[in-house]
Assembly symmetry: C2
Homo-oligomer: 75 residues x 2
């Protein structure tokens, strides 16, 4: 069973990686880009019957740093 977990920096947290991408896109001539945020997409292959609560526990304990990152789970 495939589960997708998306981890993004919370709004207000500085994202230097995204900012670097925005600068690079501008340097390449892409002028219409006003902002870039970069996050992680983690695809888990879990055994059938895994509950969303288990995936939430994985996010809280390992996948996301909940102080600065938010996550969403797509079962």
């Amino acid at each position: 069973m495939k589960v997708k977990v998306t981890v993004m920096l919370k709004t207000g947290v500085l994202d230097p990686q995204g900012e670097a991408v925005r600068h690079a896109l501008g340097a390449l001539g892409f002028d219409g880009v006003e902002g870039v945020r970069q996050g992680k997409l983690i695809e888990l292959d879990v055994v059938e019957g895994t509950a969303e609560a288990d995936v939430t526990a994985m996010c809280e304990k390992l996948l996301a740093n909940t102080v600065i990152e938010s996550y969403s789970i797509e079962m």
Copy 2:
């Protein structure tokens, strides 16, 4: 206008980062995880009227390394 770009390693390309996450989940007691792939999620804030072709060009030129990575665009 928000555009989401997902960049994942192609199937068959070794993903040491995902493998490390899988091992760490196992060590934390999450036994039901059979595989992990980790990719990037890039959220672009582009001006209205930006065509999908422009975003494709951004992916080809900067956001993805098309030798080893595949990307998908969600406008």
